[in-house]
């Protein structure tokens, strides 16, 4: 009776709504699903740019078509074979259920009819010829995970294609299967004996709910958990000091930004916006959160294609005052800065810098939910929030940050720029154009130009790029993370 290898992860699991790939849309959920369901393609371990085969052995682009050839001999955890039909069913299911993450696929104009299983191949027809790297990036997202059609249909309730069942159960072909989920307590995963890829070393992975990072740290040090999922930057030195544990950090394609309303005075004035931007010292913000994050001035995170490392409106309080005077506000003005609770430190720092140039700032720290409610109604003056790229392509961020043709209700994409009531047709044109440019260099050029303009005229200032900070027990090895927060569990090693 060989001892079972069990790894325990401490994580704040409360954001996880569902573990159905068609529905899950949080980092934690995606991170898990990547290891329970197979996607067509995936990133090489640790990379967020190099694609490798998943359940699809190979793929082929032609015009606005892609054809994936499905791997032979793969099996679901219950022993059923994975075939092209299953893959096509899963993709159609995403489109049909139209849950939050479905747009990752449907943005390419994919409908149920445009997905077909032909023999051992799956063909997807898009409405335009998108850049292949963009499309493949999207295909790595957990929403494309392949579910077992038989099981899904068995549990079909009122046409939900097993969504209710799959929320807390799994029948996938990934390296692990979900055994049980007691909400706000723990999730238990066991090895999928039928997995086609590398045999996982760990028999059971348990994720327990530890909402507080200080508790996670304590439990890591106390040996209750092997992995502390989200530590604060200020806790890292302690982990490093402690014997038997180590830290792992990885910059993410997630960023914290500061935005202004482009329609209500005084921030409708570009001079004021520049003044505000030059009043904020991002270095101070980074210091305040204890460092450990990456400095970033643009919406394309470091490590992603077409990243621009300049800063058109750097920190310069003198300049800020001049600009304010020029804009007609020599004595500053009063304004409200709304931030979600998890950014209260950043908010406090920004407030104090704005006040240094004479802008009286009322800080309003509210629950993220409440913030989003007002935000979606274009109701905020100054805002800070976070943004995470769903796929590793500049387009994933360019759209929300720069694409907005009109601030009215007719807008097609009501993302960040729209929420801040800032329409810039020039930016919008550039974003739309870049999505279809097949040539990589040319595409990069457009994005670089966009970023410069966006920095000097736009309504946003990026504060920093987030980094994920984990604490691990020494017995855990080969815990790989990429910028999209993906970890192949089957590669993790565990000493006794």
């Amino acid at each position: 009776y060989a001892a079972e290898k069990v790894m325990v992860i401490g994580m704040n699991t409360s954001p996880i709504v569902s573990l159905d790939p068609a529905k899950a849309y949080e980092f934690e959920g995606s991170w898990i699903l990547d290891n329970v369901y197979d996607k067509l393609v995936r990133f090489k371990p640790g990379s967020a740019s190099e694609i490798e085969p998943g359940i699809a052995e190979s793929w082929e682009f032609s015009g606005n078509n892609i054809t994936f050839t499905i791997r032979d001999g793969a099996k679901f955890s219950n022993g059923d074979p994975v075939d092209a039909e299953a893959v096509a069913y899963s993709l159609k299911r995403v489109v049909k259920l139209a849950q939050a993450p479905s747009w990752v696929i449907t943005q390419f104009g994919v409908t149920e009819d445009s997905i077909k299983a032909i023999g051992n191949k799956v063909q997807i027809i898009m409405d335009k010829a998108y850049s292949p790297s963009l499309v493949l990036s999207c295909m790595t997202y957990s929403v494309t995970g392949t579910v077992n059609p038989k099981v899904a249909e068995e549990h079909n309730v009122e046409g939900d294609m097993g969504m209710a069942y799959l929320t807390e159960n799994s029948v996938g072909s990934g390296p692990y299967k979900l055994v049980s989920w007691e909400r706000n307590q723990k999730l238990l995963f066991e090895v999928n004996e039928n997995y086609w890829g590398t045999k996982p070393e760990i028999d059971k992975i348990i994720i327990i709910d530890v909402p507080e990072s200080s508790s996670q740290l304590l439990q890591l040090k106390g040996g209750t958990i092997d992995v502390a999922w989200n530590l604060e930057h200020d806790q890292i030195p302690d982990v490093e000091k402690t014997k038997g544990v180590y830290t792992l950090s990885k910059p993410q394609f997630k960023l914290i930004y500061f935005g202004m309303n482009g329609q209500t005075p005084p921030t409708d004035n570009v001079l004021v916006r520049r003044a505000v931007k030059s009043a904020i010292d991002v270095e101070a913000v980074i210091k305040a959160v204890g460092g450990g994050v990456t400095e970033l001035h643009t919406f394309i995170p470091k490590g992603m294609f077409a990243y621009y490392d300049g800063e058109e409106v750097p920190y310069n309080p003198e300049k800020a005052k001049e600009l304010l005077a020029e804009a007609g506000y020599p004595n500053g003005f009063e304004i409200t800065l709304t931030v979600p609770d998890f950014l209260s430190t950043e908010g406090t720092v920004v407030k104090s810098y704005l006040e240094q140039v004479g802008i009286k700032t009322n800080l309003e720290v509210i629950a993220y939910t409440t913030l989003l409610g007002k935000y979606r109604e274009q109701g905020l003056e100054l805002v800070m929030a976070r943004w995470g790229a769903d796929y590793a392509d500049p387009d994933a961020n360019a759209k929300p940050f720069a694409h907005c043709r009109t601030t009215s209700d007719e807008a097609t994409i009501k993302q960040l720029a729209w929420r801040n009531a800032y329409a810039n047709p020039e930016f919008t044109d550039m974003v739309e154009k870049a999505a279809f440019i097949q040539d990589r260099d040319e595409r990069e050029k457009v994005y670089l130009e966009l970023q410069k303009k966006w920095q000097s005229d736009g309504i946003f200032k990026i504060l920093y790029q987030m980094t994920i900070q984990l604490g691990l027990n020494d017995r855990v090895g080969n815990f790989i993370l990429n910028e999209l927060t993906q970890t192949p569990w089957e590669l993790i090693t565990l000493k006794d």
Binding site: E212, E232, D234, G290, T345, T348, A367
Partner: protein
């Protein structure tokens, strides 16, 4: 001479004031005596006095500006320069705690300033008029009482949006039934007492009976109760701040300080611990004092003059 005359007048006035208020003076002396006799009440009183002094003279006592950031001196452990260390933005924790006293007292005072009059008004009305007025007021009070306080405060806090002002409104909304009930009970029992009947025999109007005879007793009962609640108010406010429904940064609010500091509990223990202590001490002080005042005001314990 004018000044002499004025002096004499003043003296006369003082003497006559002393005579008119000799009872109050002796009551006061008695109270002082009773407080002195009870060491715990003395401790409570001392804590509250310190709190009040901190609140009023914060700018003179506090060594630093409570909101000034010094990002190069983040999370400094307690030292000579910063007796209680600094927080994640390099702010002096001692100074923040000193300023925090004012915030805490403000919450207490405003909540009571809303609830005491409200409770008395509703309680008096319910108790004196009875009938459907009583029925309606008391049922509403019952409903509010059926919510655990923090939960109701959370609900209201969420609805109104987090801010110190809304915290106070939320707490006030959860506390009034207690006072209304108390005032009502008091009114009901006083209403039947002989001295009220005696007033009626004199022809005193209902309104005057209510205002000059029943109200004063209600007020003093409610004030005793209020001193017992002061600690609670601080605690609930701290709880709300902890859940992010209370004061907004950079307000030096103790609950908020514990809340933002809780990630530093292990490595920079001083960040959440000292504000937590401040809450503990303040609430403890109010409780001691409240218990003491209740004991003192209890005619049963105070008797001796039968």
């Amino acid at each position: 001479m004018v000044s002499n005359l004025a002096k004499e007048n003043l003296q006369n006035w003082i003497v006559s004031w002393g005579k008119r208020h000799s009872s109050e003076i002796s009551d006061f002396k008695e109270t002082v005596y009773l407080i002195k006799k009870s060491p715990l009440t003395m401790v409570g009183l001392a804590v509250i006095l310190i709190l009040i002094i901190m609140a009023i003279f914060a700018p003179y006592i506090a060594p630093y500006d409570p909101v000034a950031m010094h990002l190069d001196n983040r999370l400094a452990p307690p030292s000579k320069a910063h007796l209680l260390g600094t927080d994640e933005l390099g702010r002096d924790i001692l100074s923040r705690i000193i300023y925090g006293a004012g915030v805490a007292l403000k919450i207490v005072l405003i909540v009571l300033a809303i609830d005491l009059p409200l409770g008395i008004l509703l309680g008096l009305a319910a108790g004196y008029f009875g009938g459907w007025i009583d029925e309606i007021i008391m049922r509403i009070a019952d409903i509010f009482m059926a919510f655990p306080r923090l939960i109701l405060a959370m609900a209201i806090g969420t609805a109104l949006g987090p801010s110190l002002r809304n915290t106070m409104i939320a707490i006030a909304l959860t506390m009034w039934p207690v006072y209304a009930r108390l005032a009502r009970g008091e009114t009901l029992s006083i209403k039947e007492r002989t001295f009220i009947e005696a007033e009626r025999a004199l022809g005193t109007s209902n309104f005057r009976i209510l205002v000059f005879n029943i109200l004063p007793i209600c007020v003093s009962t409610l004030i005793v109760r209020a001193t017992l609640d002061m600690g609670n108010i601080i605690r609930i406010a701290a709880g709300m701040s902890f859940l992010g429904l209370g004061a907004q940064p950079p307000t030096p609010d103790w609950g908020l300080m514990v809340s933002t500091g809780r990630n530093f509990l292990i490595n920079q223990w001083w960040v959440p611990t000292f504000p937590g202590f401040a809450i503990l001490l303040a609430v403890f002080g109010f409780n001691l004092l409240g218990d003491g005042i209740r004991d003192i005001s209890d005619p049963y314990l105070r008797r001796g003059r039968q």
